[in-house]
C-alpha cells in the first residue's frame, strides 16, 4: 500500500484518507515518542538527562553491575515465571469448570473468580498487606521462598485473566468431539489431555503471555506486599526515581523495553501475528 496511491479511494477505505492517516500517525507518535526518547537518552553521556553530550554505554555498564538492580530484575522474572505457571493451571481448570458444569451458586462463583479483574490494584494491595501481616508471613526466608507472598498475590490477580481468555476459546469447542473421544474409549484424563488441551492451546499461550506481562508490570500490589529486603524491578525503579534520578534508570528501563519487545517477538513466532491480534 503506497502512501500516495493512484487508485481512487473507495468510500469505505477510511484508513486511506489523509486525515485518518495523519490522526493514526499522530497517535502512534504520541505512544512511541516518549519511549524512543528514553531509549536514546540512555546512551547520553550526561548526568542531566536532557542535553545530548555524546554517546556512551557507561550507564548500561553501571546498571548491569548494580547488584541491587540485577537482583530486583531476577526477582521480577522469577515471580513472573512462577505466577504464570500457577495462573495457567488455576485459570484453565476454572475455565473448564465454568464451561462444563452446571452447579449451585454458579453465578456467585463466576463473579467471585472474575472480581480481581475489577477490584482496584490499590485495594488488592492493602488487602494483601493486611492479610500477610495478620498471618505474620515471614519475609526473611531464603531465596526464592522470600518471594512467596508476592508470588501468591500475583497469581491471585493473574489467573482470572487466563480464565477469561480460555473460556472464550472453549466457547468454540464442539462438544461432540468430547463425546466422540469418550465413545472411542478415552478416559476423562485422556480426553482432557488429547482433545481439550490442544483446542485450548492458543488461549493458553495468550493467557501465559498476559500473566507474565501483568506480573512483570505490577508495581502497586508488590509495593504493599514486599518486605524491606524483597524488591522487584518496578519497585526498585520507583525508589530510584523517587530518590535519585540517574541515567541508570534510563538504561534499566531500556533493558526492560527490549525484554518486552523480545517476548512479543517470541510470541509472534510461536503464534503468528494474526492469532495474537485475535486473542486480545
Amino acid at each position: 500500500m503506497a502512501f500516495f496511491s493512484r487508485t481512487p479511494i473507495a468510500p469505505l477505505e477510511y484508513s486511506r484518507t489523509l486525515w485518518m492517516r495523519l490522526w493514526v500517525g499522530a497517535v502512534m507518535a504520541f505512544l512511541y515518542a516518549p519511549l524512543v526518547v528514553l531509549m536514546i537518552f540512555s546512551f547520553n553521556d550526561s548526568k542531566r538527562n536532557v542535553v545530548w553530550r555524546g554517546f556512551t554505554l557507561k550507564y548500561y555498564d553501571k546498571a548491569l553491575h548494580d547488584d541491587a538492580l540485577i537482583e530486583a530484575l531476577v526477582n521480577s522474572l522469577t515471580i513472573a515465571a512462577l505466577a504464570t505457571i500457577v495462573s495457567l493451571i488455576l485459570g484453565a481448570v476454572a475455565a473448564v469448570m465454568l464451561w462444563r458444569f452446571r452447579f449451585p451458586f454458579k453465578g456467585a462463583v463466576d463473579g467471585t473468580i472474575s472480581l480481581p479483574i475489577i477490584v482496584p490494584e490499590i485495594c488488592m494491595g492493602v488487602a494483601f498487606l493486611m492479610f500477610f501481616a495478620k498471618l505474620q508471613w515471614s519475609t526473611d526466608l531464603i531465596w526464592p521462598l522470600n518471594l512467596s507472598a508476592i508470588t501468591i498475590a500475583h497469581i491471585t490477580f493473574c489467573f482470572p485473566f487466563v480464565t477469561m481468555v480460555v473460556r472464550s476459546r472453549l466457547a468454540s469447542f464442539n462438544r461432540e468431539q468430547e463425546e466422540a473421544a469418550k465413545d472411542l474409549g478415552a478416559g476423562e484424563w485422556q480426553m482432557f489431555r488429547d482433545v481439550l488441551i490442544p483446542h485450548m492451546r492458543p488461549a493458553l499461550v495468550a493467557g501465559a503471555l498476559l500473566s507474565f506481562t501483568l506480573s512483570l508490570d505490577d508495581f502497586v500490589i508488590t509495593y504493599f506486599t514486599s518486605g524491606p529486603d524483597t524488591v522487584t524491578f518496578p519497585v526498585k525503579v520507583y525508589s530510584m526515581l523517587r530518590f535519585s534520578v540517574t541515567p541508570e534508570v534510563n538504561a534499566a528501563s531500556t533493558i526492560l523495553i527490549i525484554l518486552t519487545v523480545a517476548l512479543t517477538a517470541i510470541a509472534l513466532k510461536l503464534q503468528g501475528l494474526k492469532a495474537i491480534a485475535e486473542t486480545h
Binding site: 497517535v27 512511541y32 485495594c123 518486552t260
Partner: protein
C-alpha cells in the same frame, strides 16, 4: 451435550473446581474480608486495631475533604475516558478499515506500549514533559515560528517564550493517564467496529449522508456496546490509578488511591484506609451495575 450437572461426575468436578475455589477463598476472599472488617475498627494502640463495629471511618470519609478527593478522582477519570474515546475512535476505525496486511501490524502497534511496563512508560513521559524536555522545546519552537510570522506580516513579535510547567500538576495527571490508558479504549472499540455490518455504512453513504453524518448516526449507535465496554475498561482503572498521579501530579492533584496509600504507609490509620478502599470498591460496583442496567433496557423494550 449441554452443560453437565456437577453430580453426574463428582470426581471430575472436584478436580476442576477445588484448586481455584480454595485459592480464591484463601487468597482473595479472606484478604478482602479482613479489609472489610478493619473498616469498622478503630486504632487501639500503636499496632493494635480493635474491631468495634464503629461507622466513624465511613463518617470521616464523607467529610468535605475526602468527598472532594472522590469527586475530583471521578472528574479526572471521566475526562481521561472522554479524551481516550475522542482520540481512540478514529484509530479504531482506521484499524477496522485497514487492509488485511496492515491490520495486524496496526493492532500490534497499539498493543506493544500496553505490554511495556507502566512505570517505565510513565517515567518516559516525564522525561518528555520535563522543564527542559522536548515537549517544551517543541512548544517553544512553535511560539518562535508564530512570532516570526507576525513580524513577517508587520506586527509586533510575541514576547519571548517562557517554558511552561507541564509536570506536577493536574494537566500532567490527565495527560499521563490518557497516555497509559489509550490502548484500553482502542481495543474494545476495534472489536465492536470489526463486527459491524459494512453494508449499513454503504447504504447510508448511498442514500446521500456524508461521512461525518454516517459515522455519527450509523456507526456510533451500532458500535455502542463496544463504546460502553471501552468506557468502562478505561474509567475503572483510571479511577483507581495510583502511580501516575503519584509520580506526575503535584500536591493538589492527588487521587483517591494516593490518599488510601497514605493511610497505610504514612498516617498508619489502617481502619480509615480500609473504609476508603471499600468505598472505592463500592464505586466500581455501582459503575458496573449501571452498565449492566443499560445493557438490559433495550432487550426489555
Amino acid at each position: 451435550m449441554a452443560e453437565q450437572d456437577w453430580k453426574a461426575n463428582k470426581r471430575v468436578f472436584a478436580a476442576v473446581s477445588l484448586p481455584t475455589l480454595l485459592w480464591t477463598i484463601a487468597f482473595f476472599v479472606v484478604p478482602m474480608a479482613i479489609v472489610w472488617f478493619y473498616s469498622f475498627g478503630e486504632n487501639a494502640g500503636l499496632n493494635e486495631i480493635h474491631i468495634s463495629g464503629t461507622l466513624d471511618n465511613y463518617k470521616r470519609a464523607t467529610e468535605y475533604l475526602y468527598l472532594g478527593i472522590f469527586g475530583k478522582s471521578f472528574a479526572v477519570a471521566a475526562l481521561v475516558t472522554l479524551t481516550c474515546l475522542i482520540v481512540g475512535f478514529p484509530v479504531a476505525m482506521a484499524i477496522t478499515f485497514a487492509s488485511e496486511k496492515w491490520r495486524p501490524w496496526l493492532l500490534l502497534g497499539i498493543m506493544l506500549p500496553f505490554w511495556t511496563n507502566l512505570l517505565v512508560r510513565t517515567y518516559a513521559l516525564m522525561i518528555l514533559l520535563g522543564q527542559q524536555g522536548y515537549a517544551n522545546k517543541g512548544l517553544g519552537m512553535l511560539w518562535g515560528g508564530a512570532s516570526w510570522t507576525k513580524t513577517l506580516i508587520g506586527l509586533q513579535p510575541l514576547p519571548t517564550w517562557e517554558p511552561v510547567q507541564l509536570l506536577f500538576n493536574n494537566f500532567a495527571v490527565v495527560f499521563g493517564l490518557v497516555y497509559v490508558h489509550l490502548p484500553f479504549m482502542v481495543l474494545p472499540l476495534y472489536a465492536a467496529l470489526d463486527r459491524l455490518d459494512r453494508s449499513l455504512i454503504e447504504a447510508s453513504l448511498d442514500l446521500g449522508a456524508g461521512h461525518f453524518r454516517t459515522i455519527l448516526r450509523i456507526v456510533v449507535p451500532l458500535a455502542a456496546p463496544g463504546i460502553v465496554a471501552g468506557v468502562m475498561i478505561t474509567l475503572i482503572p483510571a479511577l483507581g490509578a495510583y502511580l501516575t498521579p503519584d509520580l506526575m501530579g503535584g500536591t493538589d492533584s492527588q487521587m483517591i488511591a494516593n490518599v488510601i496509600e497514605r493511610q497505610f504507609k504514612k498516617a498508619n490509620d489502617w481502619p480509615f484506609g480500609s473504609a476508603l478502599s471499600f468505598l472505592l470498591i463500592y464505586a466500581m460496583f455501582i459503575l458496573i451495575a449501571l452498565q449492566s442496567l443499560r445493557r438490559k433496557v433495550p432487550e426489555a423494550g
